[in-house]
Symmetry: D3
Subunit: 284 residues, 6 copies
């Protein structure tokens, strides 16, 4: 009798699509990355390295194995054609949302969040966004293009408008972006010290959580395209996730791991741990 195994889902996420409450899907796109590419390799690397992790979180005292979570693999798309890629993401996320399941997308670069915003806002017109990132991502254009990892939150604002976007950990941008943010988003410089104070504004609202992992200090997360020293430490970031555990999350993404830039594998381990915690946040 054969005694072999072959699982390639994220650890503890082996439900079928039909049974699942939460659906993990990969979006391995890095076509507008301006500096160091490679986030396309993140979803599969994360699946493999998730087996170095336990399914139980001592932070939330919850276990992935107690929930129905599917991992449906990666969205297929062509290389070199940004609009078609974004359409494919929006279509897939919409399918998940229409089936009354919560999407948890693994990037890819940050631009993959834009079609997710679009898919979610159709169902939840009052959508709010919690955004962890080192960079403002609020440019109107970037190197001549409106669709870019550096403009993605500005494009989100085009859809959602003022007072819906809450940004944390931001420490890089142009002077203009920081100025613009003052009247359009809630922008928390450097850390998440204002997070607790804004929780009442989000209570009961449908919230999408978008985590650009470069919000973390590159000491703990070097595997990314544009490392920006001076970020949040791992414990500080885990504390922030625990703080928001009572919100009503309707979807999430975790983006910008570029695994080849961290030969030690630590960045992969960070991404796996964050995804475990986010999956458990969605399970509530």
């Amino acid at each position: 009798m054969l005694n072999t195994y072959q699982s390639h889902s994220f650890i503890g996420c082996e439900s079928s699509f039909d049974d699942a409450q939460i659906v993990i899907v990969g979006a391995p796109f890095d076509g507008t990355t301006s500096y160091r590419p490679g986030t396309r390799f993140a979803p599969n690397q994360i699946r493999i390295d998730s087996y170095g992790l336990e399914t139980y979180s001592p932070y939330l005292d919850l276990d992935l194995e107690d929930y129905q979570i599917a991992d449906i693999g990666d969205i297929e798309f062509p290389f070199g054609n940004t609009p078609k890629v974004l359409d494919a993401i929006e279509e897939n996320i919409s399918t998940i949302v229409d089936a009354n399941k919560k999407p948890l997308m693994i990037g890819g670069e940050h631009l993959v969040s834009l079609p997710a915003f679009k898919a979610l806002v159709k169902k939840y017109p009052d959508l709010h966004i919690i955004h962890f990132d080192a960079h403002t991502d609020l440019r109107e254009h970037y190197m001549g293009e409106k669709l870019s990892h550096a403009t993605v939150i500005r494009r989100g604002w085009d859809i959602l408008g003022d007072d819906k976007i809450f940004q944390f950990g931001i420490r890089s941008g142009t002077k203009e972006e920081f100025e613009w943010a003052k009247s359009h988003t809630h922008l928390n410089l450097f850390d998440a010290s204002t997070l607790e104070s804004i929780l009442p504004k989000l209570q009961g609202k449908p919230v999408y959580l978008t985590i650009d992992l470069d919000v973390l200090d590159p000491s703990i997360f070097s595997g990314t395209g544009t490392p920006e020293p001076g970020g949040m430490m791992m414990k500080e970031f885990l504390d922030a996730l625990i703080m928001i555990k009572e919100l009503n999350f309707v979807g999430a993404d975790v983006v910008e791991l570029s695994p080849h830039y961290d030969p030690s594998g630590v960045s992969n381990a960070v991404a796996c741990k964050v995804i475990r915690e986010v999956a458990l946040l969605l399970s509530k």
Copy 2:
């Protein structure tokens, strides 16, 4: 409608076990590795990186997609208990052989070949072995142990006896091993220059092909535990494989890739290409 994909077989090897003529199975064991370990990571890395390869071989003018090949994943076993590991391998390979299919095992360290020899010889008492390697692997003991990557071919000889083992590319061993080989195996120093001349001895015999990838020069295959400069070049090795394409192969293994030691990924690509060619050799 969801448009995602999730395949983790070796490229072009997606047959079911029942339909398959050839069965790929991983044996991620490196428990007796004396120098640099890590071959346990080879089977999964090879599956992922096989997607950088075409299914068509211009060397053999054959295509993986024209054959029924299954990839049944990895054999499960405990860490730190060598005898139990070898038993698990023998049981699994026997199951494949008993079902009249040909096994193609991906190591792991070279000791994993021993239970495969045992499983095959039960069905084919006249089993012959073609062995590509940098090292003789003919020690009687190694650091006090009889079961070791450095004794595996000697253990094979315990089973098969004289005139059944044909060794190529050998360039490292003790003086005693080289002496011993003179009366017990066919040992071709440094390369495969005698391969053509011994083909008649193997014609019509059941042949098992065991490839320790360190037979290749470390210029092209640095991702291994004990790199031994002065090996076969890639073209020279591909030529040797083409030369033996008419033999009657009943099983094979490809061992000793340690992927973490080659950050460029080239060693993974080499292993993938060799496995494609070997799968096609088995298909004849």
Copy 3:
């Protein structure tokens, strides 16, 4: 008095654009790369590492310092918009060609050759191409796209037609591509053994030389997106370049170095040496 230096041209290529016979220009685009990206970093890395090289070639017995060669930097283009990138390349190469200078473009991925073909064929309608590569690059479509690194030579054939393209070192492709090549290009499997025999067909013709560096064996050139073992050795490749030194080259490119994948820097050294030799071929 200040005694500092700041040169960032390729070594020995410090002529002004107006004085130059040969113009080096970088095309740091990798937007359609399907496997491992990063060729965008090649031009600047090559400029820096060229200072580990001598300007004198003992192969051709020529010295870069004896010619007027300019290095005008990199072409500017947006990320995530392939058609605009190709237009920018064509415009820049056309400017060089119109000024009666020979372009030597440093990629970037192989698709950057297509606009160079277009710019050159306007001036030289009888353009012929010598193509060194591991891959056929003859697909009609790739992952749904007509413009891709995997289709670039097929797109070149769309412009030039039969009997104009001469391919060497090819060892990877689909069965269909190899079939198609039989009636449309000269395709030399594995090496350049037929190069000498086809020289008469190219004598006196305007020739564009496009070198995908992955034609080299990954033992010497691991820093590339899709390493394909079994390629040309460095000396074998240098011999091929010497063999074509009497042809009438009107332009050239050297593409597909992805420097981050080779932490040893050897691939950078290879690219620098090849560019030195190619610049000297153009100088004739």
Copy 4:
């Protein structure tokens, strides 16, 4: 006259065995490592890299050169035979203890601590253990085996019983392990915030200090088999060591450095610094 040097002891530890109060010994075993192996390379790498360190500690205001410390090299053992390895360790540590010297063992994986516990408890029946680690190591079995790096502290409890084991920095385990710990060990989640409060329980007792270096955050210690983000920072950990400096240590080990996973060498420097501080703790 020859003016050469050849010292391969840990820096400042060049006493003879007979003169020594403290004896450093390497245990380069990683046979049950379930994820990424390589701790076998730690002892020799640590000896070499210790020469980047000063012998003086400004933390403890003590200098290695003021004490008699021997470094007797590594214990010899076979690969692939876990029970024989553990016996060899126990025999060697017993020899050190019987000579009224304090052992400071350098791992290797964490399982090497078990025979040290056994050797020490023979002399000190009231042995207590301070355990720094990311992982509980409290499983009853792991992948079918009772002897494993993931069960080592549970095996220690088999010997010592309740109220003898004090665990700090723990942040990974199964739900069952955390439950079990509640009634059998003192387990401090995430950090060492309870360390000061439990000092009175350890005052005057014979204490063995076992440090799995993965207790540190992988930002500062990436060179380990199973990196677990969210650990103790280096200063926080040094503060903990200073806090326990008045205890009666009878032996110690520092385990789980896997040097090949951190190409920067920082993890080696961390291990060296921790060993210097631990040697000075033992000297009291």
Copy 5:
């Protein structure tokens, strides 16, 4: 028309020498490095990687583009002749100072600071030094040499005398160095907790800022010759720089990045960010 670019100054520092208030110059010397060399590669790597940075600092709310800053490239010097190298640096820094501009030197090893001290003290006899470092650098001799990276601050004291040198973050040295410092410099062990208290002593004085980047914890700065765990965290260090922003800086240097030891590129990003902040400090 050509549309190419070729800038190799530090980002936002493209003023001419004559127009500049601040002059960046590289000193790629690592001739006395005792452990791991390679700081010679820092200045050019920093220039390239500075393009991953914004010119605007949200810490100081200042933008490089609002100031006149020149980057004049690297000082030329021979390898293997330390005295000639130091002379070349002193001559170049003197030229900058004599032109009433402020030098910002990028090392290179720390010994390059000595000729800068000499050049500055000629113009500012009351020169004070703020020194961030992991190491005391106060040895009288090191391995038989008076001129060494390990003696550079002692040599600075030879020139300036007592009460002029303020050291922060120090955590490594011989017992003698720490003793000597007690009566000759202000030495802050481990961090910069005393920085605020000594500001009044520096108010109005001409201050030279010398930053050995290894003052940072190697978690965030692994790319250096002698990593010393337990250092300042990035935010802590940025806070220290903000704290001194009102002082009268007359020159500065940032030394000891050895880029090859950090394959992730994070150390380069740290150096770039520190240089941006220091350039803005000089601009006041």
Copy 6:
């Protein structure tokens, strides 16, 4: 009873100095390296990695264990003072030679050969040199200095004069160096094809063998300061060593391994294997 081991000699070279015929000594100096330094780490890395090697050579059919070979460690010298370093080497090599033993020096950069030439020529005025290298090393000056890795063979010629120096594998230099060589040395471009023909000139002469390992193609030897593609392959080089086995060698060195540039460890294995063969050549 303790059962530990601690040997740090090159494998099989554990004779005492007094008993030895051959004396291995390290010269870890890289002070004039112009491009990528780090050869200072070679001797100790080679000693460690030699344990991946057998003591028996199937190429020469000789075993290190059959000869008396001592490894006396590394020569001590200061950093940053080239003349003192060269004096220390000359003194140590002279001591070995005066004791009627043969030195086998492990570099370090190539300049360390110069004091060895001086020490040997005192005893053997008719000294001849066989020189394997990628570079001519025949400059009169290099960056203003007469003592440099790039001038070392020219300095050797200053001592020995015409017709004493035989260079192989050379493929890089200035046009002037190649011209100069025509009348002063025997220079074999690219390979060792003329080696056999010059053997009669060396028969019976005292010969010093200096091997700059960059003579090998960087495919097999990437761990060096200035990789120069197009070099000798490993087998070709081993054949050359076998060809000269009857000559009368009076000393040798193996230089220019820079281990940090080859993370795979293959370059270390190459250096170890070459040193084994050279030690056996000296033993004749």
